[in-house]
Symmetry: C2
Subunit: 519 residues, 2 copies
């Protein structure tokens, strides 16, 4: 699913080895003009454009390698642009980088542009976290003197460091990295590009830029071929970024006749509905609960973090699975959804999400006036302390899942498509892949559709970036998607509040719309 | 003649004032995208391209001027490029600079791009003269550590200084200078662009670059609108530069059915012959004599320099005219040609250019074993000293005029066009304008055609640059001219030497080809 398997898909970054005879008294064409002539001979009917500074380097390279060179080119707006000239070696591959620019994690995939194969993949925590874990803090920091530059250089320097490491590891010349595609949300994109994010979080919520042109690597001080094109996925608005465009691209929903839904579950719930004819998008705050970000025992996925839970309906015994099979130290979002779903199924919480004292028994305790459920006792815990779930944690999750379901109800109502008509319900994002749809249906976070409707896609941001980097067709699609999307502003009116109130029950006040959930 | 009078000629640099409504919750399009939309509304059916760094500035400018801005655009390769965004004021004009980048003098013309009118014109000695008067010295200097950068910055800094002065003088914002066109010979162009000129004077004599793309002003550190396009006239080869292309453009010879000749007289004699169907060019060393560069009393044109001479055939009295009517201090090229022509007509020199002792009488004297003619006595001289013309000076001029005539004979022979079929004989260059064609014919430097055939054009480099700056059609023509030109390598073979030997007489060994010259 990750790489376009159709090797016939035409790339937009390529290399040609122009035939050139070294100059002589009989043919003293200028160096740059000689190279252009050679390229045009190899790629007839193409005009070759180039940025002037390259002209200063070409004669040196031609002389040094005795006119045995390869020209690196890319397509943009139906024109070929020369991005660099490399020493001979017709068979040496070109490389490219696909980047998922997450606010917490940045994933970098190194690809061989010639074979389209993945060479390596690596990830790192977004170093902007040292400025602030959440996006708003970073936006505020950007307004300080030098703040924007600091945020930009943090992520760029770390990315460059990763590029160096990858090059060393695979014995690759940095100059052979001839392209990059970057997908991130609107704020991450702004910070990556050094664009002022000030108005992203302030009325009227306007981005500085939605559709970046192709940017040359040197304009962003990236340590790859200086003239390499950097494809930055466009945003649709402050709350709907390039990562989602990449998601739509990766899902292929915009090329299917049947209507699909795409959901990215996170602090913001981002939802797209549509098909090859139309796309409507909507985003709303879901709160950090779905990612396990705020619960007592909540944390991001990592070794020892519980990502799956079941409860024996008879014995009420907890079965937990932890990442890397280590002693549990916390719970991540998918684990939390499982846990709450099973607490409901086993009668330990009621429809309102409140602990049922009778069924929970000894597992309940009070701390600072808040009721908590002991999930892991100190003897089994990786921290040596109790792992507990507070009533407030459940309340937070219920609000979040209610927000998600309300957004789904609102957007499907707006377009007048009954949920039963949804062919695929794509779940985007690495985090979303871990969610058990059965549990998510049980708590009423997503609609009660046949389980096969749900398709976890993994890191769609990275997949979309990969496709955009490798395929001219995909690149065109990105801009078609952007032009096709209608963005639905969530209007928090009485109707929305009514939907939300009904969705704050588990699974819902109207049990008939969740027939498969039987506690 | 200087400005294209047809105001219908379409420009390629322009300004539009896009209509934009400031963003609101109902229309929170991103700033850059809003501007692009506004421009596309004003210029429908046009795609607008822009360089990424501009995106960082646009939101600030839009905010500062409340979305009342003007977009500056230029055409290149059939696409519109955004070069900058200026504060409102729909009626404020855009300016441009046409530059004649001479090796001794740089001329800068400031133009109003909206009205196409010349606002001002100024010139300065090329500061590279401090490195070396002749081009070869500069090429050698460029090979030294930091030499090329020094040469480039010398002329750039001086040009920037001139821009500042012009802006102050006419109360013009530098950011409203939205374009520049530069014509110079191949070496001057290389040094201006920071391109290594090493191979220009070494076999196989290859330029680094013949056809520069449009360069952005900031890429050359020019103090005008940073995104302004700089049109640098292409070269045809090491010895045939953009100044000549500008000359052809200014003469219009490439748009006429009749065959014309264009000659630029200087240290190099550059000749073009052709019409709207074909163009052939040729260049050869003529030596500095034609410019008055080496004669005893020779100097560049300036106050007190003799630029016109006649000799009373009976009394042998000299009548001299000096620039600014000051006492004579030397003689420039056109004066020298006059002087030698009249010496010949009055029988003071013979066909070989040798002094005739009998006719010269007391005016002759010997100095360091060389015979000299006293042209101006100490009592009339502006220097208080004798101004003399040495036999060696005449010998030099005769060699130079012979070279020029030989090149003319060679190129017309090559294309098989008899000189009588030449409709116009254009003389390019400021220096050329001062030459009296009658005298030049007398010494056998140019063919004996009816005087009305000779058309002095003045500074064609500057005129061509002006046209290229103002007109899209002219810009297109530049590249048509470049593609049309066949460059004839001068082959110094036996035939050439025979032509040359015959031309070393005044006016020629074959008097029948100079019927109008009667000593």
């Amino acid at each position: 699913m990750d790489e376009p398997k159709d090797t016939k898909t035409r790339g937009w970054i390529r290399k040609v080895t122009p035939e050139m005879v070294p100059p002589s008294l009989n043919d003293n064409t200028a160096d740059v003009d000689r190279l252009m002539k050679g390229i045009r001979k190899a790629l007839p009917q193409n005009e070759i454009l180039f940025d002037f500074p390259l002209a200063r380097e070409i004669p040196t390279i031609l002389g040094k390698y005795d006119y045995q060179v390869a020209a690196v080119l890319f397509e943009d707006h139906d024109r070929l642009h020369l991005s660099g000239v490399l020493p001979g070696a017709a068979d040496a591959p070109l490389y490219g980088l696909a980047v998922d620019l997450g606010s917490s994690t940045v994933v970098v995939r190194l690809l061989n542009l010639s074979t389209r194969e993945r060479v390596d993949e690596t990830s790192f925590h977004n170093p902007q976290i040292e400025i602030g874990l959440d996006i708003l803090t970073r936006i505020h920091y950007a307004a300080q003197e030098g703040g924007l530059q600091k945020l930009q250089s943090l992520v760029r320097d770390r990315l460059n460091q990763e590029v160096h490491t990858l090059c060393r590891k695979h014995t690759i010349e940095m100059m052979t990295i001839a392209g990059m595609a970057v997908a991130g949300n609107t704020t991450m994109t702004h910070l990556f590009l050094g664009l002022d994010p000030y108005w992203l979080c302030r009325e009227p919520y306007i981005p500085a830029l939605n559709s970046p042109p192709i940017i040359k690597a040197h304009e962003l001080a990236l340590d790859i071929l200086p003239g390499a094109p950097v494809l930055v996925f466009p945003n649709v608005g402050s709350y709907f970024g390039g990562d989602l465009i990449a998601g739509i691209l990766a899902s292929g929903m915009n090329q299917q006749e049947e209507v699909s839904l795409l959901v990215d579950v996170g602090t913001n719930a981002e939802v797209v509905i549509g098909n090859s004819d139309w796309l409507m998008a909507c985003a709303g705050a879901a709160g950090p609960a779905l990612e396990g970000g705020v619960a007592n025992m909540g944390m991001m996925a990592g070794p020892g973090v519980i990502d799956k839970v079941s409860i024996d309906p008879d014995t009420h015994e907890f079965h937990t699975r932890t990442i890397a099979d280590q002693d549990p130290i916390g719970i991540c979002g998918s684990g939390l959804i499982d846990l709450v779903a099973h607490l409901f199924l086993s009668g330990m919480i009621d429809m309102r999400g409140k602990f049922v004292r009778r069924t929970c028994g000894d597992l309940l305790r009070e701390k600072d006036g808040i009721t908590e459920l002991v999930v892991v006792g100190p003897e089994k815990s990786g921290t040596g302390k109790l792992l507990t779930l507070a009533q407030t944690d459940i309340d937070g999750l219920v609000r979040s899942k209610a927000a998600m379901f309300t957004i789904l109800t609102t957007i499907t109502n707006t377009v007048g498509i009954p949920l039963s008509k949804i062919r695929h319900f794509f779940i985007a994002g690495t985090f979303g892949s871990y969610i058990d749809p059965r549990s998510a249906i049980t708590i009423g976070m997503i609609p009660d559709l046949p389980l096969e409707t749900y398709v976890p896609l993994g890191n769609t941001s990275l997949q979309g970036a990969t496709q955009g980097l490798l395929s001219a067709e995909a690149r065109k699609n990105i801009f078609l998607i952007r032009d096709q999307i209608t963005y639905l502003e969530l209007n928090v009116n009485q109707e929305f509040m009514n939907f939300f109130s009904a969705a704050k029950f588990i699974p819902h006040t109207d049990k008939s719309i969740f027939p498969s959930v039987r506690p």
